[in-house]
């Protein structure tokens, strides 16, 4: 009997329901699912556990790993190849190349994508916007600034924000895209080009960050993202910049998209910041386990799972050709933009969510961003520090 131990951090709420769907599917196909859930710190705890399991010589069959980490694990020789399934299922066709390249090591599939989260979303409360006469979310950062000033004057917190490094970084990378475009973003955070990191463009980004700092209320440090979402919901703040998972919070509160809340892409010069969850398959011994891995991989990329899972989770499918009728307006918009940016080459991996760079560099960037945001550091200093930190972490 194919069996698989699956390490993941989808432990509660919609995520857990989504994961349960996969399990149900897996078991319907004769597999035995051995759940190994470790939540915490956006997967940090799970990664820690994964490391000890690998060192103990007892890795799980599949583990939720994403971005460059897949390459790192593969380099250690810890991952097994999925090429057989990939060929049978024609993955090269159904997966966008920007995504499939992340899943491959030396041209071989070692991991499978589950979903695509869009990071650069504005979530807004239309009633609040209406108070200052706005009807939709701003399209450029200048517009944003103008709107925010108006809101502020009206005594409304323009931006709901949680002061955690990853949230700071989410805003930061969105601003980078918005002010400097995808090419700059790629040079800075994928290629880690020192000159770009030090450039005036980066200084401008920090200037904008300083402005944004003025648009958040002063109790923001340490706040969870969903507490910030609440602020938008009950009207104490106008907008929030957050990934598409924020939608779940609105829906859970019975809010209706379009009426009670708006979703709009943040100003990113028609870019798209993505966060792709994926499962990597580890080298395991035993036919049953290997069979389990293959089955799991096949199911994950399968249309059915991609559809159910992503409706639960609020994200969009990572593969193409999934029927769209079950998805809501926000998700549909996201899908369209995804396709558009794939074509235009402005689809970018999220830096804040560790899709663009290794953990070390990401951490270094976060350090600087969050330090700048929480202090009175000048933008020039920040850019210089950023470049230095990245160099140190490389």
């Amino acid at each position: 009997q194919p069996n698989a131990e699956v390490l993941h951090w989808w432990t509660s709420g919609g995520e857990a329901k989504a994961a349960a769907a996969l399990k149900a599917d897996f078991e319907a196909n004769g597999g035995k699912w051995n759940d190994m859930a470790v939540a915490g710190g956006g997967g940090d705890a799970a990664m820690t556990v994964l490391r000890s399991r690998v060192l103990a010589g007892d890795p799980p069959a599949a583990a939720q790993i994403k971005g460059p980490n897949i390459q790192d694990w593969a380099k250690q020789g810890a991952l097994g190849s999925l090429d057989k399934v990939a060929a049978a299922e024609n993955w090269d066709k159904v997966l966008p190349p920007q995504i499939s390249s992340i899943m491959k090591f030396n041209g071989k599939y070692v991991a499978v994508p589950v979903n695509v989260h869009r990071i650069d979303w504005f979530w807004a409360n239309p009633q609040v916007l209406a108070k200052v006469g706005a009807t939709e979310a701003p399209k450029t950062w200048d517009e944003f600034n103008a709107l925010a000033d108006k809101l502020k004057a009206a005594g409304i917190t323009p931006l709901a924000h949680g002061g955690q490094p990853w949230q700071d970084a989410t805003i930061f990378e969105t601003v980078v895209m918005g002010l400097n475009g995808a090419a700059f973003f790629k040079k800075a955070f994928v290629d880690l080009d020192d000159a770009t990191l030090r450039s005036d463009g980066m200084v401008k980004v920090f200037d904008q960050m300083r402005k944004i700092r003025g648009y958040v209320d002063k109790d923001f440090p340490g706040r969870e993202w969903n507490a910030a979402t609440q602020m938008v919901m009950n009207g104490t703040a106008a907008m929030q910049l957050m990934g598409d998972w924020a939608k779940g919070e609105f829906l859970a509160a019975g809010k209706v998209p379009g009426k009670d809340f708006l979703c709009a892409p943040a100003p990113t010069q028609n870019g798209y910041l993505m966060n792709v969850d994926s499962f990597a398959m580890f080298n395991v011994k035993g036919d049953d386990k290997q069979a389990g891995q293959m089955l799991l991989a096949k199911l994950i990329v399968g249309e059915k799972f991609q559809e159910t899972f992503n409706t639960y989770k609020g994200s969009i499918p990572a593969r193409l050709g999934v029927p769209k009728d079950k998805f809501d307006a926000c998700a549909l918009k996201s899908m369209d933009d995804l396709n558009a940016t794939i074509a235009s080459g402005t689809l970018m991996p999220s830096m804040a969510h560790e899709m663009a760079t290794s953990g070390a560099v990401r951490g270094a960037v976060l350090d600087v961003v969050t330090q700048h945001f929480n202090s009175s550091m000048t933008s020039a200093d920040a850019a210089k520090k950023l470049a230095d930190a990245v160099k140190l972490a490389k």
Binding site: G13, A20, D35, A37, V38, T48, S52, E224, W245, A253
Partner: protein, 262 residues
């Protein structure tokens, strides 16, 4: 008291009230749904089992760990104070310093060691880990308690023909209850509440309750149910509270009264 109050009151609110009201106000109407939900319905990973099964995992792991480490600590404390050998203090210092090792540091080498021992992912392995890192503390507690017990007692028992272990069991242990309580409270709390080791060295269904609790409470991109979180947390903490209440009774006075004059 305040944080507990907040937790209890939150756990008794309904989800709707939570979203609307202030976080630290009292609930308008009591609802125990969250408790029941946390106990056996909530999603912990992909399975909607609630905390219940993990609860027992924890019990199975905690009880032997606490007993073994307390017992060994008492024995060490006794040996290090009443049967001093050259270097006993140095040895104690070495054991003691071990308590400062950061657990994060331990993680990787420990995984390798457990892998070598074949204990990876077993409850026995977890017990071993907890015993090892509890010993410094239990030894510390007992050693410092035993230094204040008159040596004459041990001498008298020796003359009476009691051996090393007989003195320990018949004389020393019966007069150590307060410190035993302290040691048990400490070890129980530490082990019951441990997350890092529990997550790293257990596998899937044998995970302790803290891992489950963490899974239930911690969500990155999911919706928060604070009432359930709080209820779950309180449930997870109940055994510890029970231990406090039960063990606390043994904080008695005058255990050595009347034994010697001086």
């Amino acid at each position: 008291m305040l944080p507990l109050g907040v937790m209890v009151s939150t756990s008794l609110k309904s989800a709707a009230e939570l979203r609307s009201g202030s976080l630290i106000s009292l609930p308008r109407e009591l609802s125990f749904d969250a408790w029941a939900f946390a106990w056996n319905k909530a999603n912990v990973g992909v399975n909607a089992t609630g905390l219940a099964p993990y609860f027992w995992n924890s019990v199975v792991m905690v009880v032997p760990s606490v007993l073994i480490s307390t017992f060994m600590g008492a024995l060490n404390g006794y040996a290090l104070t009443k049967w001093k050998f050259p270097g006993a203090n140095l040895l104690f210092g070495l054991i003691l310093f071990g308590s400062f090792i950061p657990f994060q540091l331990v993680l990787l080498p420990m995984s390798m060691t457990l892998g070598v021992l074949g204990l990876a992912g077993t409850t026995a392995g977890l017990v071993l880990v907890h015993v090892v890192y509890g010993l410094a503390f239990t030894t510390l507690f007992f050693r410092n308690y035993y230094t204040s017990i008159p040596d004459d007692l041990v001498k008298a028992a020796t003359i009476d023909g009691a051996g090393f272990f007989q003195i320990f069991f018949k004389i020393m242990l019966p007069i150590s209850t307060p410190i035993m309580v302290v040691s048990i409270i400490w070890q129980f709390t530490q082990i019951w509440n441990d997350f890092l080791f529990g997550a790293s060295f257990s596998s899937g269904a044998s995970a302790p309750v803290t891992v489950a609790l963490n899974n239930l409470v911690n969500t990155t991109t999911g919706v928060k149910q604070y009432n359930v979180d709080m209820a779950a947390a309180i449930i997870a903490a109940l055994p510890t509270l029970v231990v406090y209440v039960l063990a606390g009774k043994y904080f008695v006075r005058g255990l050595t009264a009347g034994s010697v004059k001086g």
